[in-house]
C-alpha cells in the first residue's frame, strides 16, 4: 500500500482515512500488508495497522527497495491520492512492477492511464459518445498557443498528472495563456498541459461510483457544487445529494457514470466523476475521472455512511459488492445504493490571512487547506451549521455581530458599496458566501445575483429565505440587553429548524447566548439527533452516526454506560491538522481498551476520527459551545477530553467548565496558568526558570515602553492564537507600530505579547507525559532552524544532535518542574530556546502537541493513548512508562509548504506558521535521517550540478564552510556580488551573476534553463529585496530544491555528501522498535 505522503493542499488526511480503512479491510481478509508513507502523523502508519510499516520517502527508488525486500504480490495504489497513483504509474513505466511480478490492483495500470492521460481519456470518452469540452494537449508553449487560439477564450489549462489542479488556471487572453502554459508545462511531471474550452459558470456535478470484478456498479451519491464551474471542487461549497437535477437528468448522469467507470476499466474500486452541465439547456460534458479514492470519495462516504475505501479495498482483492456487508446497517449488502434523508453541505477553510501577498481569489487551482461537513434536514440548516463548523469565528449565515457591512449600510447602499458587493460575488473568493447575504440585503434580485455569480437560483433563494427569517426574528428584539426578548415559540422553532445558532439569535434579539438557550429550553425547543444510516430510515441500522436537527423525534442512542466525550479539532488549517486527529483517535482507542464508551464530536469529513467505527458513537457536529453542550447534556459523560483536538476544544474549556462540565486531565485552571502570560511568568519566577525578558501591552505606547526596556529585536504576537498567527520579529519602533495596528484586529480584547528575541538560539521542543505525580519525557527534539522560525515550520531531530548532556538535563529538569507545578495529567509540550548554555522557556502548552505522533512513532510508545489512560486515573507506573526512551536511531521531521499554491508569496520562514504538513526521515544517524526527510518533503537534492548562493551579511561567515564543501563535492557555484566576494576571498571558485535588473543572463535565466540545481538564499531583512523575492518565486515555479536558513543549508550539504557516498537503506518501523526493545532489555 502506498500512502499519500505529507498533508498538502489538495491532499489531506482523507487519505489517512482511506488508507486506515484499507489496512483494516485487507487484514480482515487475511492479507499480509506492507505500507509505505512518509507522513508520521497518520493513523495508517501506526505499527499494528499494517504488518510492516515503512516511514520512508515516496520515491520510485525507495519503493523499489521495499518491493525488492518484501516481495509483495500486489500493489494497491488507489488509496494514496495522486501521489500513490503517480508512484505506481512510474513503477510500472520503469518496469519495476514487472521485474518483481507485482500486480497493480484496485486500478490497473491501463485504467490509471486511461483516466490520467488526457489523450487516452479523450479517446475513451469519444468511444462511448460522451462529450468533453473542446481541448487539445500541449507539449510545448507554441503548441499550446496554437490550440488555445483555435478554441477561443476563456480557456482552462490543466497540467497532466497534477494534483488538486496545481498549476491549473483560467486564462482570458494571449499573454495569460503564454504565461500559464509555461508554468503548467514545468509543473507537469510529464510536461503536458491540457488546453480546454472553459465551461465557466456551468453546473458542476459529481458522482461517486464503485465497480467490482463482476461488473456490478453502484452509485454512492451525487454531489452538486454550489459554486459553479471555474472554481476547483476542492474549494467549492458542495451539497450532497444534487438539488437541482430532474429525475431524468439524474438518471442520465447515473447512466453516463456507469458507462464511464466501465470504459475507464476500474475493476475493483471506486471513481469520482466530474461533469459540467449547461444550466440553460442541460448539455452535459465530462470534466474528469479519478479512478481512486479521493477527497470527494471521503466526503461521499461521510455524507452517506457508505465506507467507500473499505469496500473498494475488498473489491480490489476480488470480492464482489453483494459479498461485502454494509457495516452501518449491519445486515444488508454493499450492493445497494445509499440514499439519504438529509442535506449535506461541505464548506472549505482557507488561510489567505497567512499569505497576505496572495491574491484572494478562487479559481481552478485549489487553495483550501481544510473543510467541514454539516448535515441538516434542509439546505438552510446545513449551510448555517457548515459556516459555524469552519471556525472562522462566524456562527452562521451572517447576523452574528461579525458582519463587515452593517444592516444599516445595506439598507441604503451607495453606488460604491453596491459595486464592491457585486465584484465580490462575481469574482469567486473565500468571503463570497457573506457577500451573497449582503447582496440580498442590499436589494439585488435573485436573478441579478445569479447572473453575477452563476450560483444556482435554488441555493440563492434558500439564502434569501434565511435573510427574511432574520428580519422576522429581529421583530422580537428586546429593548435592552437585560430584558428577556419576547419571541414567539413558532418563530423560535422556525429559526432553529433553519439552523440559526443561539449566538445569532442573541445578536438579533439583543440578548445573550445563554439567555436564548434558557428560553429555548423553557419552550422545549431542543436539538433532536437523527441518523446517518445509508438508507433513509428504511432499515434499522446497527452502527449509524448522528447529527442534530430540530425535529419532533430524537433518535439518539445514548446509553447508561460509562462514557467520555472527545472533542475533535474541526477542519484542517495551518497549525491544526492531522496530528490532532491522530491524538483524538488514540483517545478513542484507549477508551475502548478501558471499556469505556467513546463519544466523538467532530465535523471534519477527511478524518479517521469521523469514521463510523473509530468511536462508540460519533456526532457529526460543529465544535461550538452550543452544539457541544447539547451533546454533553444528552450523553452525560464522566468527562470531556479537550487536550487532543488542538486549540479548538481548548478554547471551549473555560466555558465548558463554567457550564459545569468535567474536563478530564490537567485542570482548566492550570491550562489557564500556562496560557495567561502574567500568571505563567510568576510561575517561572517561582520555579527559578529562565524566560526571555518580556512584557504585555494593550497600546502602542505601552508596547514601545516594553520593547525599550527589554531591547530589540523583540518577538511580538497577539495572545490566544494558533500557529503563530500574526507573530513577528521586530527590529525597530516603526515596524512595531505597524504591527500593533494589525495585531489589535486579530486579538480583540486580548493584549499583545512582547518577548525578547534570542537571536541564533537553538530551539528545542519537549513532549512530556504526566499523571500528576510522575512526569516522563516522551521526546526532546532539536530544531534545525534557529529560534524565530515557528516550531511548526522547523525541521527537528529526535534525539537531539548537538546539545550537551548538561543542557539536556537542564531541559528535562525544567520541563518536569513545570509539569509538576501545573499538576499535569496527560500531555504537555514545552518549547525552549538554548543560548550560551542556558535554557529559556518560550512556551508551555498543557495539551497534545503537533509532535506527539512523530515522537510516538520514533520511540514506539503511543503517547496519546497513554495520556488518555492517565486522564482516566491510571498511573504511569501501571502503564509501564516510567523512563524516557532515547532512541538509538535518528528521526527528522520536516515541514512541507503550500507556496506553489500562492503565486507571489515569499517563501521565507518566520514566526508565523505556513506549513501544511510534515514528513519523517528515519535512519541510523542524523545526516541520513535529514536527507531522507528532505527527499520525502519533495526536495529533489542534486548529486551534481550548479548551486546558487546568496546570503545576508550575517551568514557570510558560515556560508564559507558550506560553499567549500559544495565545491569539494564537485558542485559549481554561482553567487551574487556580495556573497561571491566573501567566497573568492576564501579561495572558493565562484561565478558572479549580475543583479536581475542589471542584465542577462542572470540567475532567473539560469533557473529557467534548468541550470541551477540548488538555491541557498537567506533573506536579507524583514523587508526583502526585490531580487530575492523573484529568485525565490522562480524556485517554486521550477521546483528547484532550496534552503532559506543557514542551519538548513548546513544540514543539506552534509546530507548531499552522504548521498554521494552511501546508498539509502530502508528499515521498517517495526524493525526499529524491535531493536530498540532489545537494547532496553539488554
Amino acid at each position: 500500500m502506498i500512502g499519500s505522503g505529507p498533508i498538502i493542499i489538495g491532499q489531506a488526511c482523507e487519505f489517512d482515512y482511506s488508507g486506515s480503512q484499507a489496512c483494516k479491510a485487507l487484514k480482515e481478509e487475511g492479507y499480509f500488508t506492507i505500507l509505505v508513507n512518509s507522513n508520521p502523523a497518520t493513523i495508517m502508519t501506526d505499527p499494528g495497522l499494517a504488518d510492516v510499516t515503512y516511514i520512508e520517502p515516496l520515491t520510485v527508488e525507495i519503493v523499489e527497495k521495499i518491493i525488492k525486500k518484501e516481495r509483495p504480490d500486489a500493489i494497491l495504489p488507489t488509496l494514496g491520492g495522486q501521489t500513490g497513483l503517480n508512484l505506481a504509474y512510474f513503477l510500472m513505466k520503469e518496469g519495476i512492477l514487472k521485474k518483481y511480478g507485482v500486480e497493480s490492483i484496485g486500478a490497473s495500470v491501463d485504467a490509471i492511464s486511461r483516466a490520467e492521460d488526457r489523450l487516452l481519456f479523450k479517446k475513451a470518452m469519444q468511444e462511448i459518445g460522451i462529450d468533453m469540452p473542446k481541448s487539445g494537449i500541449a507539449r510545448s508553449t507554441e503548441e499550446g498557443m496554437r490550440i488555445g487560439l483555435e478554441i477561443g477564450f476563456p480557456l482552462i489549462l490543466r497540467p497532466a498528472y497534477c494534483l488538486g489542479g496545481a498549476g491549473g488556471a483560467t486564462v482570458y487572453n494571449k499573454q495569460e495563456l503564454e504565461k500559464f502554459l509555461e508554468k503548467g508545462l514545468s509543473v507537469s511531471p510529464v510536461h503536458q498541459v491540457l488546453v480546454e474550452q472553459s465551461v465557466l459558470g456551468w453546473k458542476e456535478i459529481e458522482f461517486e461510483v464503485i465497480r467490482d470484478s463482476a461488473d456490478n456498479v453502484v452509485i454512492i451519491t451525487s454531489m452538486e457544487n454550489v459554486d459553479p464551474m471555474g472554481i476547483h471542487t476542492g474549494d467549492s461549497m458542495v451539497v450532497a445529494p444534487a438539488q437541482t437535477l430532474t429525475a431524468q437528468e439524474y438518471n442520465e448522469f447515473v447512466d453516463l457514470s456507469r458507462k464511464i467507470i466501465r470504459k475507464v476499466g476500474v475493476t475493483g474500486g471506486g471513481a469520482n466523476i466530474q461533469f459540467g452541465q449547461n444550466p440553460d439547456n442541460g448539455k452535459i460534458v465530462i470534466i474528469e475521472v479519478n479512478p481512486r479514492l479521493s477527497r470527494s470519495s471521503a466526503l461521499a462516504s461521510k455524507a452517506t455512511g457508505f465506507p467507500i475505501a473499505r469496500v473498494a479495498t475488498k473489491l480490489a482483492v476480488g470480492l464482489t459488492l453483494p459479498e461485502v456487508i454494509n457495516q452501518i446497517t449491519g445486515k444488508t449488502s454493499s450492493f445497494f445504493e445509499p440514499t439519504v434523508d438529509y442535506c449535506v453541505f461541505k464548506i472549505c477553510r482557507f488561510t489567505f490571512e497567512k499569505f497576505p501577498q496572495a491574491e484572494r481569489v478562487l479559481n481552478t487551482s485549489m487553495k483550501a487547506v481544510g473543510e467541514a461537513m454539516s448535515i441538516g434536514r434542509n439546505f438552510k440548516e446545513a449551510l448555517q451549521k457548515g459556516i459555524r463548523s469552519i471556525e472562522i469565528s462566524r456562527f452562521g449565515f451572517g447576523c452574528d455581530s461579525k458582519d463587515s457591512i452593517t444592516d444599516q449600510l445595506l439598507k441604503n447602499p451607495g453606488p460604491l458599496l453596491l459595486q464592491q458587493i457585486k465584484d465580490k460575488i462575481r469574482v469567486p473568493n473565500d468571503e463570497r458566501i457573506f457577500y451573497l447575504r449582503y447582496a440580498i440585503k442590499a436589494g439585488l434580485s435573485i436573478d441579478e445575483i445569479y447572473s453575477l455569480s452563476k450560483i444556482d437560483r435554488w441555493f440563492l433563494d434558500n439564502m434569501k429565505q434565511l435573510v427574511e427569517l432574520e428580519e422576522k426574528i429581529k421583530a422580537a428584539r428586546a429593548t435592552s440587553r437585560d430584558a428577556e426578548p419576547e419571541i414567539s415559540v413558532d418563530v423560535l422553532r422556525e429559526a432553529k429548524e433553519n439552523g440559526f445558532s443561539d449566538r445569532q439569535l442573541a445578536y438579533l434579539l439583543n440578548s445573550k447566548e445563554d439567555v436564548v438557550r434558557q428560553i429555548r429550553k423553557k419552550q422545549n425547543i431542543k436539538a433532536a439527533y437523527k441518523l446517518v444510516d445509508t438508507c433513509a430510515g428504511e432499515i434499522d441500522a446497527e452502527k449509524p452516526y448522528f447529527y442534530s436537527t430540530y425535529e419532533t423525534k430524537d433518535e439518539s442512542r445514548a446509553s447508561n454506560k460509562k462514557k467520555v466525550v472527545i472533542l475533535g479539532g474541526g477542519p484542517n488549517r495551518i497549525g491544526q491538522g492531522i496530528e490532532f486527529d491522530y491524538c483524538c483517535c488514540h483517545a478513542s482507542y484507549a477508551l475502548k481498551e478501558e471499556n469505556i464508551e467513546s463519544v466523538m464530536v467532530n465535523c471534519n469529513p477527511e478524518t479517521v476520527s469521523t469514521d463510523y467505527d473509530t468511536s462508540t458513537r460519533l456526532y457529526f457536529e460543529p465544535l461550538t459551545l452550543e452544539d457541544v453542550l447539547n451533546i454533553i447534556e444528552l450523553e452525560k459523560p464522566i468527562g470531556v477530553i479537550v487536550q487532543f483536538g488542538g486549540q479548538t476544544p481548548l478554547n471551549l474549556a473555560v466555558s465548558l467548565r463554567k457550564a459545569g462540565v468535567h474536563i478530564l486531565g490537567t485542570s482548566a485552571e492550570n491550562i489557564d496558568i500556562a496560557e495567561d502570560r502574567e500568571r505563567f511568568k510568576r510561575m517561572l519566577q517561582k520555579l527559578n526558570l529562565l524566560q526571555p525578558d518580556n512584557g504585555t501591552a494593550f497600546t502602542f505606547e505601552e508596547a514601545k515602553g516594553v520593547a525599550r526596556r527589554i531591547g530589540y529585536p523583540v518577538l511580538v504576537r497577539p495572545s490566544y492564537v494558533l500557529g503563530g498567527r500574526a507573530m513577528e520579529i521586530v527590529y525597530d519602533e516603526t515596524t512595531l507600530e505597524k504591527f500593533i495596528t494589525e495585531a489589535a484586529k486579530v486579538s480583540g480584547d486580548h493584549p499583545i505579547l512582547i518577548d525578547k528575541f534570542l537571536e541564533d538560539a537553538i530551539e528545542v521542543d519537549v513532549d512530556l507525559l504526566g499523571d500528576g505525580e510522575r512526569f516522563v519525557v516522551g521526546g526532546i527534539m532539536e530544531h534545525i532552524e534557529e529560534a524565530g522560525i515557528h516550531s511548526g515550520d522547523s525541521a527537528m531531530s529526535l534525539p537531539t544532535f548537538t546539545l550537551s548532556a548538561d543542557i539536556l538535563n537542564k531541559i528535562r529538569e525544567a520541563a518536569c518542574k513545570m509539569a509538576k507545578e501545573l499538576n499535569v495529567v496527560g500531555l504537555m509540550n514545552v518549547q525552549f530556546a538554548v543560548k550560551d548554555d542556558k535554557a529559556y522557556v518560550l512556551e508551555v502548552n498543557p495539551r497534545a502537541s503537533r509532535t506527539v505522533p512523530f515522537v510516538s512513532k520514533v520511540i514506539g510508545v503511543p503517547l496519546a493513548k497513554l495520556a488518555t489512560k492517565v486522564m482516566l486515573g491510571k498511573t504511569l507506573e501501571e502503564l509501564k512508562f516510567t523512563k524516557e526512551i532515547i532512541p538509538t536511531h535518528f528521526a527528522v521531521k520536516e515541514s512541507v509548504f503550500p507556496f506553489n499554491r500562492f503565486p507571489g508569496v515569499d517563501i521565507i520562514l518566520g514566526p508565523e506558521m505556513k506549513s501544511t504538513g510534515e514528513v519523517m526521515g528515519i535512519d541510523a544517524d542524523f545526516g541520513l535521517a535529514y536527507i531522507k526527510s528532505q527527499i520525502a518533503a519533495g526536495q529533489n537534492l542534486p548529486r551534481k550540478g550548479n548551486v546558487f548562493i546568496s546570503v545576508r551579511d550575517k551568514d557570510k561567515r558560515t556560508v564559507i564552510f558550506i560553499a567549500k564543501k559544495l565545491h569539494e563535492l564537485g558542485f559549481r557555484l554561482y553567487a551574487t556580488e556580495g556573497t561571491a566576494d566573501a567566497l573568492s576571498k576564501n579561495g572558493i571558485p565562484v561565478k558572479i551573476l549580475v543583479k536581475i535588473a542589471e542584465g542577462r543572463p542572470n540567475v532567473l535565466d539560469l533557473m529557467k534553463d534548468g541550470k541551477i540545481q540548488l538555491v541557498i538564499n537567506t533573506p536579507s531583512g524583514r523587508i526583502p529585496r526585490q531580487d530575492e523575492v523573484k529568485i525565490r518565486s522562480q524556485v517554486i515555479l521550477h521546483n528547484i530544491p532550496y534552503v532559506t536558513t543557514i542551519s538548513a543549508a548546513q544540514a543539506t550539504v552534509n546530507g548531499i555528501e552522504i548521498l554521494l557516498k552511501k546508498d539509502l537503506k530502508i528499515k521498517s518501523l517495526q524493525e526499529y522498535h524491535r531493536s530498540a526493545a532489545r537494547k532496553t532489555k539488554g
Partner: protein
C-alpha cells in the same frame, strides 16, 4: 393550513397543507428516492396512496408535463418535509404546488418525515388519514375503520384505459399487446423506441380479444396492487399461458403468478425506491433496480409450481423479484424495467421482445 396525518393505529404526525384542507384516506407508503416526485405522483400504481417522501427537499426542479407517467395526479396525498418555493431547472414549467393545485391534489408538508418513516418501518405500512388539525381523533379513526372495511380496492378500473388503442406504425415489424393495469409513459416510450407496434388493451379485455390482436407477445403492465380485479385478470390470461410469450411487470407479475397458481402476500414494509439490489442465483452479477411494491409473490407457493423458477431475488430480504417459466415462455419482474438512460431500453424488455420474435 395546519393539518395532521393520522395513522390507522392512532399515531399522529403534524404538518401543514400547501392548499386548502380536505380529508383524504389511503395506504401510507414511503419512497426513499431523492428525485422523481413528479413521476411518483403520476404513477398509476400509486393511485389512492398517501405517499411519504423520505428525502426532505421536494419540488426543487419543478414540474414538466413531459415527465408525467400518466396524465393525472394519482395520489390521495403527498407528505413531505419541505416544499421548495422556487423552481430551478431549465425544463421546469410549473411548480409542484401549482401542479397539485390544478389537479386538486393534497400536499402535506413540514412533517417530520424521518420519524414517520422509522415509525412505519417498525409498525408496517398501514392506512392513514390527512385531516385538519382540529379534527376529532376518534372520528378520524372511525373514518379509517369504515374505509378499511368498505374498501373495495377497485382502482385498476380507473388506472386502466377504457378502450383499446394502437400505438405505433401499422407496418411495425413486431407487434405486442399490453394489458393495461396502469401503464406508464416510460414503458410505452421504451417499447416504441424498439420499433414495436403496441396494442393497449383495457384490463377487462378477454383472452379472445387479446389473441385477436395477433400480437407476438403480451405484457401485463404495472398498476395498483392488491386490487379486486387481479384474480379476474389472472383468469383471463390463464388460457394464454404457453400460447404467447408473456411478461408481467410488478403488479403484472402478481397477475401472472396468480394465473400460474401462486399466491401473493403482503410485506411489512414494501420496497419503494430506486436503489434495490436484485441478485440472480448462481451469478455474481446483480443489478440495482427501481421498485414500488408492498406485495410479493409468495415464495413457498411458487416453489410448488412446475417449471417456474425465481430467477431474481432481493439481495437483502430475499423476496422474489424475478420469475421465469421458460417452458411457457413467461417471465415476470417485480421491479420496474425503467429506462437506464436517455433513449435506452431496459434489458428485460429487450429480452422479452427477443423472445417474442423467436418462434
Amino acid at each position: 393550513m395546519n393539518a395532521i396525518l393520522m395513522l390507522q393505529d392512532g399515531k399522529i404526525f403534524s404538518g401543514k397543507t400547501t392548499g386548502p384542507i380536505k380529508e383524504v384516506i389511503g395506504e401510507v407508503i414511503l419512497n426513499t428516492a431523492v428525485v422523481g416526485y413528479q413521476e411518483m405522483a403520476t404513477d398509476p400504481a400509486n393511485r389512492g396512496k398517501i405517499l411519504v417522501l423520505t428525502y426532505p427537499l421536494v419540488g426543487n426542479y419543478g414540474i414538466n408535463p413531459k415527465f408525467n407517467e400518466s396524465p393525472q395526479w394519482q395520489l390521495s396525498g403527498l407528505v413531505v418535509k419541505e416544499t421548495s418555493r422556487i423552481i430551478s431547472n431549465w425544463q421546469a414549467k410549473t411548480s409542484l404546488e401549482d401542479f397539485a393545485k390544478k389537479q386538486d391534489a393534497l400536499i402535506l408538508h413540514k412533517v417530520d418525515t424521518r420519524s414517520l418513516a422509522v415509525y412505519l418501518r417498525h409498525k408496517g405500512e398501514m392506512l392513514g388519514i390527512i385531516a385538519g388539525l382540529s379534527s376529532d381523533p376518534k372520528a378520524l379513526l372511525a373514518k379509517i375503520d369504515t374505509y378499511r372495511k368498505s374498501q373495495t380496492r377497485d382502482l385498476i378500473r380507473a388506472t386502466s384505459t377504457a378502450k383499446s388503442s394502437y400505438l405505433g406504425s401499422n407496418r411495425a415489424r413486431q407487434k405486442i399487446a399490453i394489458l393495461d393495469l396502469g401503464v406508464t409513459t416510460d414503458l410505452l416510450a421504451q417499447l416504441q423506441s424498439l420499433g414495436a407496434g403496441i396494442f393497449i388493451l383495457p384490463h377487462t379485455a378477454t383472452a379472445k380479444e387479446i389473441t385477436k390482436t395477433k400480437a407476438g407477445g403480451l405484457i401485463i403492465s404495472n398498476g395498483p396492487e392488491n386490487d379486486v380485479s387481479l384474480e379476474k385478470i389472472a383468469e383471463t390470461i390463464r388460457p394464454l399461458l404457453g400460447a404467447i410469450p408473456i411478461l408481467g411487470i410488478s403488479t403484472g407479475l402478481h397477475v401472472l403468478a396468480l394465473a400460474m397458481g401462486a399466491k401473493i402476500s403482503r410485506m411489512k414494509l414494501g420496497h419503494h425506491g430506486i436503489n434495490y439490489p436484485v441478485a440472480h442465483p448462481g451469478s455474481f452479477k446483480a443489478e440495482i433496480t427501481v421498485q414500488n411494491h408492498s406485495f410479493v409473490v409468495d415464495s413457498d407457493s411458487l416453489d410448488k409450481i412446475k417449471n417456474v423458477k425465481a430467477v431474481g431475488y432481493h439481495l437483502n430480504d430475499r423476496t422474489i423479484e424475478e420469475v421465469a417459466n421458460n417452458k411457457l415462455r413467461c417471465m415476470g419482474i417485480q421491479y420496474y424495467p425503467q429506462s437506464p438512460g436517455k433513449g435506452q431500453v431496459h434489458s428485460v424488455l429487450k429480452r422479452f421482445m427477443h423472445q417474442c420474435a423467436t418462434k
